[in-house]
Structure formats: C-alpha cells, structure tokens
C-alpha cells in the first residue's frame, strides 16, 4: 500500500500545532535572555513549556484520530521562508505525531527529573534553557513538511546537544567530547546537505509531498540521494562509521544522556530514513547498505557494551546497538517501518528509564560511574532497582515486556528478508542478554564494593516518579503497539504498508532461539558478575576484551585514517612553507597564511605608495578597457 495523500489543513488544534515548537522555544528564549532574574523559577518555566507542548501534542493526536484513516496526513502552511524555494509548513501525520508524543512525553518526564538531579548545580537555569531549545528543535525536525525545515531542526538539535555535552565545560573531557560530537556530526551533515542539493536540482522543491511522490521516477538519482541521506543518519544516530562520538557524549549531565543520546535525538537518523523511505524503496542498493550498516552497528554496539565498566558508556553501547536494530528494520522497507518506529518508541521508554536510573545511582554514589565500585545497591535503592530492572527485562526481550514484541518483530522481518541478517540480529539479541545482565548484576547485586565515603540512598520523589512512569511504558508499551498490528495500521497512511503484514509467531525457530540465547547470556552474566566476586580493578582480559574496551578501536581507526594523513599533509606544507604563521594556521591554511604574511607587506603604511598602487591600478584598468574595447 502506498502512503496516503497529503491534505492542506487549517483550523482546529492541528492548525495551531506550531505552538508545540513555539512554546519551548519561547521558554528557551526567556531563560537565556532573562539571565539571573529567572534563576528562581526558571526550571518550573522549562517544565511548564515542555508539558504544555505535550498537551498540545496529545490534543493534536486526538484530533488526528478523529479523521478518517486516509485523511490523516495534514499540512499546515505557516509562511514563505525563502521566496520561490521553501514554504515553511508542518506535516502532521501518524509518523510525526508518534515522534511528537515520544519527544514531549519522555521529554517532560526528564525535565521533571532534572529539577531534582540538577538542584545543586549553579547553571540549572541555563540547563533548562538548553533542554527547552532541544525540545523545540527536535519537534521542528520531525514536524517540518520539507527538507530545509527538517535540516534547521537537525542543526538545532545538534547545537543543543553540543551545548549540553559541554555543559560542564570546566571539565576538559566534557569540552573535548562536545567538540568531537560537533566535528563528527559535521561529516554527516555534509552528506545530508549534498543530498538536499541533489533533491533541489532533481525536483525543484524541498517539500516532502512533491519530492517523495516523484522519488520513484526513472531519472531520479535515488541511490545517490539514499546513500547521502544515510551518511547524515549515521552521523546523528551514531551508526558505523560515525559512531565514535556517542560514547564520549556521556560526559554530559545524565538527563541529557537519557533524553538526547538515548531516547530522542539519536533516533533522528531512523526518522530520516523512514520519512525518506520512497528514495530507499526506489534504490535497492541503498537499502542494502542501510541494512548492512544497521546489522554491523547492532553487533559493534553490543560488543562495546560487554566490556565497558562505566555504567553510562555501557548503556551508550547498548543505545548504539538498539538503534542498529531500528536502522536495520528501516532498511527493510515498508515491512520493517512499523517495527522500527515501534522499537524506537519502546526503546525511548526503557532506555530513558535505565539512563535516569543510572543517574539516580550516580546521584547516590557521589557521581561514581565505575560499576566495579557499585554492587548490592538493590537493598538501598528499591525504586531505582525495580524500575531499572523492568527496563533491563524489557531491553533483553523478556517475554511479554516491551522489547520482546518490538525486537522480535524486527528479527522476524529481517529473517523474511534475508536469513543472514536475521541470524546476525539474533546473535545481537543474545549479546544484549549478556551485557545488560552484566550491567544490572554488577550494579544492583553481588557484594558491596563501595568507596569508603559512599552512603547510597534513594533519590527524592521528583526523580523517582518519572522513573516509575517510564517503566510503565517499558512494560506495556510493546504489547500495546504490536498486538493486533495496531501500530502498523496507524502508521500505514504515512509510510505505506507491506502487501501482507507480518504475523506474530511467538514459537518460530528464531523466536525460540533468541529466547534461549538471551537466557544463556543472562545466566552467564549472573554466574560471572552476580554470584562471584567482581574484581575492583578490571582484569587485563583477552585480546577481544581489549578490542571492545577500546571501542573496537574506532578512535584509533579514525586517527590513522583521517587525522594522521591530515597531520602529515600539514607537516609537509609547513616544511615547504616554514614561515607558517604563529602555529595557528596549518595545512592548506599554512599556504594561504604564508602568502598572507608576505602579501600584507605591500601595505607599507606610506600614503605615497598607496597612491602609486592606485595610479598603477588605474593604468591597468584603463589599459584593460582599451584592450577589450578594441578586440
């Protein structure tokens, strides 16, 4: 089934859906411009704006449900952005509204949680301003009805992410991590920009309606556009080969890791691929590359997750891996879209709940992140333990919890497409069972390995309530979406639907194998980390462990592939131009800088030499004119 037609819309709640973006943006503006005057109530304003956005989102959703199924793609025209090129509008359809509810819902919970988490931080107001800015940009990203608007949101979330990773800029590691995220993302953005140029030159429009409607035409360079869009998605969603920034991004405050680097922003790549599905369906090569990237990342993320002792980095590895699943599903075409987005939503719940749980643990342990210094926390932090535990069970795919439904759907769909992909995804699920159990047992069970001065305690209610609400989502969300193909039916007007929807087979061979592998992984983790002694210092480990600990040498690879040759080039250039300036400029710049340094000597400071250059210039101009005139 093809996606439904897009209808113009005005009036009603949908007509004012721009409020969803405007309110948090207003919040950010007030908080940033208001300065210290807003310190006392700033965080409440931030929460209120996010909640208000959520309320508008829900009302929009309700109004959308009231329309007929084929009528559910509405475009609200806002204003002419660039005359003759871009008309800014919002596309409210099942796909974007799913994201809206996730972003504003989970976002609001995380806002509330942050009131407690950041209560002692002098920069709390600034923090909420950035969070609001993020929510606004993310909503623009998913709601815009054209690629330009999407790109502005895309850059906006990048900016907010950059500001929030480096929020504690007094820590050099945080500042470095922020810059790394910034630079790696530029590589992806470059792909996205070139894709947009191609789209403009091919279709003469940026709006989704005309562009995607004609994406299947014969003369469209769909493969090129698809691959470039994928490059953009890889940057934002930390997929191979642009994954390296995500682990470092954990330097930011934990609510940020939960909201931006787990639940929402990093899934923007999946949104991009699903939204631009028409290009990928027209280009099987691009689709194949998408699935390969997805599978490779889901395995790489899982392997990295097995070896990290830093609780946030282990969770970040798992985020990479889970997004790998989504990208894999998105690469499968209409059969996978619903599962990709459903997994994205359930993942938003359980991963946010685990990240916030980790934050709660860190809050209790004086910001210690090394899991080897945890252990036995279950007895002192009951709520955190329970909510984290439910998230943990959901992510490993414990039967009937959220992850079970959505991840199993992806595996089934991949199996249908190609058994190799399917089995690799099954192995990934097994690894998930191992590394997530490792995190859970090392943190909450086994012997207490706390530092001398640690006095863990349960976090305040303002932090635990969001955890509880999120874990409700991680328990029931999957079943709600998947049973009876409810979500697929809802989503189909926006993204199309497969010829015959995939039935749910709980007792298929892959399904059983997955469960068995997960059980083995969890059991092994229990014997290794739950029951037996965990050494306080990480053992040397095998070659494989080192490999995983070093992020699969992702950084080393980047260094040797990109940085080193760059540095060599620079040195070469400096060698030829050893008058390079100040050491400030390097590489190509050294050449320009060197010539600049010499050229500026023509500015002698003597008025007479300026007059000479003018006379000379006048003579040249006159001579040239005479020459051209007499040709």
């Amino acid at each position: 089934m093809e996606p439904a037609e897009i209808f113009p819309h005005s009036g009603g709640v949908i007509g004012v859906s721009w409020l969803m973006i405007a309110l948090p943006l207003l919040g950010a503006a007030i908080l940033l411009l208001g300065g210290r005057r807003t310190d006392r109530w700033g965080h409440f304003l931030g929460v209120a704006m996010s909640l208000a956005s959520f309320v508008v989102g829900v009302l929009t959703f309700v109004e959308l449900l009231g329309l007929g199924e084929e009528q559910r793609r509405r475009v609200v025209e806002l204003f002419e952005f660039i005359p003759g090129m871009v008309n800014m509008g919002l596309l409210v359809d099942p796909l974007s509204i799913s994201f809206v509810l996730l972003i504003t819902g989970v976002g609001s919970l995380i806002h509330i949680y942050s009131i407690g988490y950041m209560s002692h931080d002098p920069g709390r107001r600034r923090f909420f301003a950035y969070l609001n800015l993020f929510v606004a940009a993310m909503l623009l990203l998913v709601l815009a009805d054209n690629y330009v608007g999407m790109f502005i949101g895309w850059e906006g979330v990048g900016l907010a992410s950059y500001l929030l990773i480096g929020f504690w800029q007094h820590k050099p590691s945080a500042a470095t991590a922020a810059q790394k995220a910034f630079i790696v993302n530029r590589v992806g953005d470059f792909g996205l920009l070139v894709a947009m140029f191609l789209i403009w030159t091919t279709f003469g429009s940026f709006a989704y309606g005309p562009v995607l409607g004609a994406a299947g035409d014969a003369n469209v360079p769909a493969t090129a556009i698809g691959l470039l869009l994928l490059l953009g998605a890889c940057g934002k969603s930390a997929q191979l080969p642009l994954q390296s920034w995500l682990l470092d991004a954990m330097e930011g405050p934990t609510p940020v890791s939960a909201l931006i680097h787990a639940a929402t922003m990093v899934t923007a790549g999946v949104y991009l691929i699903v939204r631009s599905g028409a290009f990928f369906q027209a280009a099987p090569t691009a689709q194949l590359v998408v699935t390969i990237v997805g599978v490779a990342t889901l395995l790489a993320g899982a392997i990295i997750g097995t070896a990290k002792d830093d609780i946030k980095k282990a969770l970040a590895g798992s985020t990479m891996s889970q997004i790998g699943y989504m990208v894999l599903a998105a690469g499968l075409g209409p059969i996978g879209y619903a599962f990709a987005i459903a997994h994205l939503i359930t993942h938003g719940f359980f991963k946010a709940s685990m990240f916030l749980g980790a934050g709660s643990v860190m809050h209790a342990m004086n910001d210690e992140v090394d899991m080897r210094k945890y252990g036995g926390l279950a007895s002192v932090m009951k709520v955190t333990w329970a909510t984290f535990g439910l998230g943990y069970l959901a992510i490993i795919g414990f039967p009937l919890l959220s992850g079970y439904w959505t991840k199993d759907g992806i595996i089934e769909a991949a199996m249908e497409h190609s058994p190799i992909l399917g089995w690799l995804a099954v192995i990934g699920a097994g690894l998930t069972g191992f590394y997530m159990s490792r995190v859970f047992f090392m943190t909450f069970h086994g012997k207490r390995r706390w530092a001398e001065d640690a006095h863990p305690h349960e976090s305040p209610a303002v932090m635990t309530w969001p955890l509880i609400l999120l874990s409700i989502g991680s328990v029931f969300g999957g079943a709600f979406l998947i049973v009876g193909n409810r979500f697929m039916t809802f989503l189909s007007p926006a993204v199309g639907a497969p010829e015959e929807p995939l039935g749910f087979h709980p007792f298929s061979v892959p399904g059983i194998t997955t469960l068995v592998l997960v059980a083995i992984g969890a059991g092994y983790a229990w014997t290794k980390y739950g029951r037996s002694e965990v050494p306080a210092v990480a053992p040397r480990g095998s070659f494989l462990t080192t490999f995983a600990r070093r992020d699969l040498y992702g950084d080393a690879l980047n260094e040797s592939l990109f940085m080193r040759p760059g540095q060599w080039l620079t040195r070469l250039a400096v060698f030829f131009d050893n008058r390079g300036v100040d050491g400030l400029v390097n590489g190509l710049a050294a050449g320009i800088g060197g010539s600049s340094g010499r050229l500026r000597r023509i500015q002698t400071g003597f008025a007479r030499s300026y007059a000479l250059s003018m006379l000379f210039g006048a003579a040249v101009v006159a001579g040239a004119l005479l020459l051209v005139g007499n040709l």
């Binding site: 500026r600 000597r601 500015q603 002698t604 400071g605 003597f606 008025a607 007479r608 007059a611 000479l612 006379l615």
Partner: protein
C-alpha cells in the same frame, strides 16, 4: 585647435599625479591634487567649446567651489598633523601599516 588644450590638460593632470607620488610635503602633495583638478577644469572648458554647449563651463565653476572646500578641510587636517608631529612629511605618518 582645441586638441592642443586637451593635450595640455592631460599633461597637467600627469604632472599633478606624478607630483602626488614623488613629493613628500603634504601641502605640496595637496597642491598637486589641486593641479589635477584644474587640469580637469581645462578639459571641461575645452570640451564645452568643442560641443558648443555650456555644461562644461558650468561644471568648471562647481569644481572650483568644491576644490575650495577641499582646501579648507585639507589645510585643517595637514596643520593639525604638523602641529602634532612638527613635520608635514607624508612619509613620517607611517604608524598604521601591514
């Protein structure tokens, strides 16, 4: 023959331009600029004669007025810098460079 006047005007203009380049004293440099303006006046008047209309002659009057205004401003600036530096050499004003 009006051509001779034009040649004279071109010569005067060139002498003025070269004077700007070779003289150091700001006052003399400025007088060379005035010479250039007057060379223009000669050209205007000559062309007015050639074309048989009065525009060129009127322009010459305007140019004279403008040149006079320029003298006022120019002398003020040059005198100020002379009082500060005890030198009217344009080459001495050489702090701003590169």
């Amino acid at each position: 023959m009006t051509t001779h006047y034009l040649v004279l005007s071109a010569l005067l203009f060139s002498i003025g331009a070269v004077g700007v380049l070779v003289r150091r004293n700001a006052i003399v440099v400025f007088m060379c600029v005035e010479l250039m303006l007057n060379a223009c006046n000669l050209a205007f008047v000559t062309f007015a004669r050639q074309h048989g209309n009065l525009d060129g002659q009127i322009i010459a009057f305007f140019v004279m007025v403008v040149a006079a205004a320029e003298v006022v401003v120019g002398l003020a600036i040059i005198v100020t810098i002379f009082r500060t530096r005890r030198s009217a050499s344009v080459d001495d004003a050489n702090l701003l460079k590169y």
